[in-house]
Structures are given as structure tokens and as C-alpha cells.
């Protein structure tokens, strides 16, 4: 479980987050949604400690993250995995070297054990036989899956995904969503996803938080989305006339 308590963040005079209180639950896919510029990425980066909040606390179970010293913070980060929007794969390393990197750095495993672990992660993301390829030789969807494989190679307790569907076609997006959701449930981990993909919201949103101009505008789950009376959520989810029409038809029928 991750708990954000009264998170504020300002960049100069610009207030990006204005007091976010939120609990990200274990074994669930927790979605942060909102328009571009709503503060989603900033909140995610505060949760993982890439940004320090101007005010507020982040708790990992019973540990106050920002009270930790640098060494303890690094130790806690070894329990995190993160999928970046652009993949953030090391382009001068092969796929195998990318996934193996955390193992090389922090484990005492033998080369054979590492190889087995890497292959099992690749198998888990349905991506076998690409070990020797470079990231630039793979497609966008494959890069996302390689990113997921790297994020889970150390069996994290917390998984963070920054816009995992960006740049992907709808079908591949759904595959990536299902993969993240399955991994979350299989390993009973706390997953936080930052997205504005509606498929993700409706498919895997165990818990959804809508950010609007730095404020928490709505919290609920996917089954509550369709019946919402929250104007901000309604405008966000049914942004196009086509979707509004579909919703009206669904309610009528």
C-alpha cells in the first residue's frame, strides 16, 4: 500500500499539485487519470522520489519515504519497478542486458541464474527470442513489454507505469493493460498507472483517481465511471460526441 498525504508541489509560482490525499491499494491497479497538465506525471514522480514534494508525505506501508536517508531510499527503491513512457531502455545494451542490468548491479546470482530469470521475465511478457536484439530493433509495443520485463525482474512490491499505452494501437494497448493487471494480481503488488487511455480506465481501473488542475477531482472504480455525475469526470471520459452518444444509447437500452 502506498499513501500520499497532502501532497503539494510548486515549480516557481506555478502550483502543480494542491494537496493530494490518496491511498494506492495493494493487489490493485490504481489509475491516475486526467488531462494533459493536470499533474499526473508530477504526482507519479513524487511517489517514486524523482521529485521532492513542496509539502506532504508519501508512505510505503509504514515507511515515510521522504524521511529516509539516501541509502535507505535506494534500498526501498529496489522494491520498485517502473515502466517509463518512452521505455527508457538503455539503447547501447541488448534486450537481455537491459533486463539483466538490475540483477548485475544488485544480485549475487550466477550468470546462469540471471539468464533463467531474464528468460522467464521475457516469457511472462510474451516476448521470447529477442534477447540479442537492441531496443531500436524492436517495435513500440515490444519496447513497452521489455520495459515491463525489466521492471519486474527484481520481483518488485510496487510497480509504476507512466502512460504505458502512449504511442500504441488500441489492440496492443489492451494487451499491455492486461499484462500489467495480471502481473499485479499474480504477485499481489501495488501498481500505480498514470494514463489518459480510456480503454485502460474501463478495463483495469480497480481504483481510479481523477486529477484536475492539481486537485483530486474524483476517486472511484471502473464500475462507477459510467454512472458518474461528476462533470469533470464526465467531460474527461466522454470527451467526444461519439462516446457521449454511445453512453446515452447504453443507458437507454
Amino acid at each position: 500500500m502506498i499513501k500520499a498525504v497532502n501532497i503539494h508541489k510548486s515549480f516557481g509560482d506555478s502550483k502543480v499539485l494542491k494537496g493530494i490525499d490518496m491511498v494506492f491499494e495493494k493487489g490493485k491497479t490504481n489509475l491516475i487519470i486526467g488531462k494533459s497538465g493536470a499533474g499526473k506525471t508530477v504526482l507519479l514522480k513524487i511517489l517514486v522520489g524523482l521529485f521532492d514534494p513542496t509539502q506532504g508525505e508519501v508512505w510505503y506501508d509504514d515507511i515515510n519515504f521522504f524521511k529516509l536517508n539516501k541509502i535507505d531510499r535506494r534500498a526501498l527503491r529496489m522494491k520498485m519497478g517502473m515502466l517509463f513512457q518512452g521505455g527508457a531502455l538503455f539503447d547501447s545494451m541488448t534486450v537481455e542486458e537491459n533486463i539483466r542490468f538490475p540483477l548485475d548491479m544488485f544480485s549475487n546470482m550466477t550468470a546462469k541464474e540471471k539468464s533463467i530469470r531474464v528468460n522467464s521475465c521475457l516469457e511472462r511478457v510474451n516476448l521470447e527470442g529477442v534477447n540479442k536484439k537492441y531496443p531500436s530493433e524492436t517495435s513500440g509495443g515490444m519496447q513497452k513489454r521489455i520495459g515491463i520485463a525489466r521492471a519486474i525482474v527484481f520481483h518488485p512490491k510496487y510497480l509504476f507505469c507512466d502512460e504505458p499505452n502512449s504511442g500504441l494501437d488500441p489492440k496492443t494497448s489492451i494487451l499491455i493493460d492486461e499484462l500489467i493487471s495480471d502481473i499485479t494480481q499474480e504477485n499481489n503488488i501495488t501498481t500505480v498507472i498514470n494514463t489518459h487511455d480510456m480503454n485502460s480506465v474501463m478495463e483495469i481501473g480497480d481504483k481510479i483517481a481523477l486529477l484536475h488542475q492539481g486537485d483530486l477531482a474524483w476517486v472511484g472504480n471502473k464500475s462507477e465511471v459510467l454512472d458518474t455525475e461528476n462533470d469533470l469526470l464526465f467531460d474527461f471520459i466522454f470527451a467526444s460526441p461519439f462516446l457521449k452518444k454511445l453512453r446515452d444509447q447504453a443507458i437507454k437500452s
Binding site: 524523482l50 539516501k70 535506494r74
Partner: protein, 235 residues
């Protein structure tokens, strides 16, 4: 503050060692040709220029060998080699680390728990501290050879005169000055360049600026350090 993070205990010595070896190869082998090329011309120009300046004076010709040797060892080899390396190696380091910052590679490593300042910068500094003095020594040898090639076959000096010059008034302490300069300049050019790359913000224009600033600041600090060292070590 950055240096405190850089010189903290490595998470995995083997990974750091591997990275250090890679950097040694990149800095050493990658810069050898340009360093030798510049060194040949430094020696050649120094020899010919001093032959011209001493022509018609009472100073013996063999002094040209002596002047080439000491100018190269004390000043030209360490200073010019490191200025060139600031341009080649320094800008490369700033671009490499800055590119990693922009592509979120550094963030990805941070999330894994890696001390990125240490992993990305310490191997470069250690590699430079070992390899750049070797390049400077090679540069000094090649420069003296360049002086020989420019002055002996052209008839400015005989072989015996040049060799006599090289053997005259030899002060071993000058080698110490050369090595101290080389180590100091190596530290300056790598730390300044890595700093510029590590803290780059923005896009490709900022990355280009960081790379340029790495070279400019390194050059200025090298020249300043040169003045301080030569004052402290020779007076």
C-alpha cells in the same frame, strides 16, 4: 555535493570496474591518434621556431633539443593534450550523460536504486586519472620525436646535437610537474564535463550548450590550474 555522491561506496564493484575499463579504452585508445598527431606538430614547430629564434646568437644549437624536451615535458604535453581532450573526451562525456538524462535513463537507474552520480561519473574520473597521464607521457615522447623529425633531416641540427640537447640539464623533477599537471587537468576536464551533462535540463539545444560549456569551462579551469601549479611547483 555531486562529488560526495560520486565518491561513495559502489553498489557492485565488478560493474564499476567493467565500466572503468570501458572508459579507459574509450579515452585512451579513442584519443591516441589525435594526441599523437598534435604532439608531432608541437615538437616540430617548437624545434623549427627555436632554431629560427636562436639563429645568429651565441646560444649553441644543441640547446634546441634541450628546449624542445623541457617545453614539451613541463608545459606543452600536459596542457595542450588536456585542452584537446577537453574538446574530444569532455564534450563526449557531457553529451553521453546529458543524453541519458533526457532519455530518462538516469531516472530509470535511480528507480532501480542505483547511485547514478557514482555509477556514471566515478568510472570516468578514475579512468581519466589513469589514462590521461599515460597519454601525456606518450604525447611528450612523440613531441620530442617530432622535434627530431623536423630539425635533423632538414639540416637544422645534427643527430648528435639534438641528442646532446635532450641529455643536457635534465631535471627529473620536471617529470613530476608534468604528471601532477596531467592528473589535475584530467580531474578538471572529467568532473566539469560530467557535471554539465548530469545536470542538463531541456532538449537538444540545452544538450548542445552543456557540451559546449563543458569544453569552455574545462579549458578555462585547466589554464587557471596550469598557472597555479607552475607557480607553486617552480618557485
Amino acid at each position: 555535493m555531486l562529488m560526495v555522491q560520486v565518491f561513495s561506496v559502489p553498489e557492485n564493484r565488478r560493474m564499476y570496474w567493467r565500466e572503468t575499463i570501458r572508459q579507459m579504452y574509450d579515452i585512451g585508445i579513442g584519443s591516441l591518434i589525435i594526441v599523437c598527431l598534435i604532439a608531432v606538430f608541437i615538437g616540430a614547430v617548437t624545434a623549427i621556431q627555436f632554431a629560427y629564434q636562436l639563429d645568429g646568437t651565441l646560444v649553441p644549437d644543441y640547446y634546441i633539443g634541450y628546449i624542445v624536451r623541457d617545453m614539451t615535458i613541463i608545459e606543452l604535453a600536459p596542457m595542450l593534450t588536456c585542452l584537446v581532450l577537453a574538446g574530444k573526451v569532455g564534450s563526449n562525456m557531457a553529451s553521453e550523460i546529458g543524453g541519458m538524462r533526457q532519455k530518462e535513463h538516469i531516472d530509470a537507474m535511480e528507480i532501480m536504486g542505483v547511485n547514478t552520480a557514482s555509477y556514471l561519473i566515478m568510472p570516468k574520473i578514475i579512468a581519466a586519472l589513469f589514462v590521461i597521464p599515460i597519454l601525456v607521457i606518450i604525447s611528450a615522447f612523440v613531441s620530442i620525436l617530432g622535434g627530431f623529425v623536423a630539425s635533423v633531416p632538414t639540416g637544422v641540427l645534427s643527430v648528435n646535437e639534438y641528442v646532446l640537447g635532450l641529455r643536457s640539464f635534465y631535471v627529473p623533477y620536471n617529470i613530476i610537474i608534468m604528471l601532477v599537471k596531467a592528473v589535475t587537468f584530467a580531474f578538471i576536464l572529467t568532473s566539469v564535463s560530467c557535471y554539465q551533462g548530469y545536470y542538463v535540463r531541456g532538449g537538444s539545444i540545452e544538450l548542445g550548450k552543456a557540451s559546449t560549456q563543458a569544453v569552455v569551462y574545462s579549458d578555462i579551469l585547466i589554464l587557471l590550474a596550469d598557472l597555479i601549479l607552475v607557480t607553486v611547483m617552480t618557485t
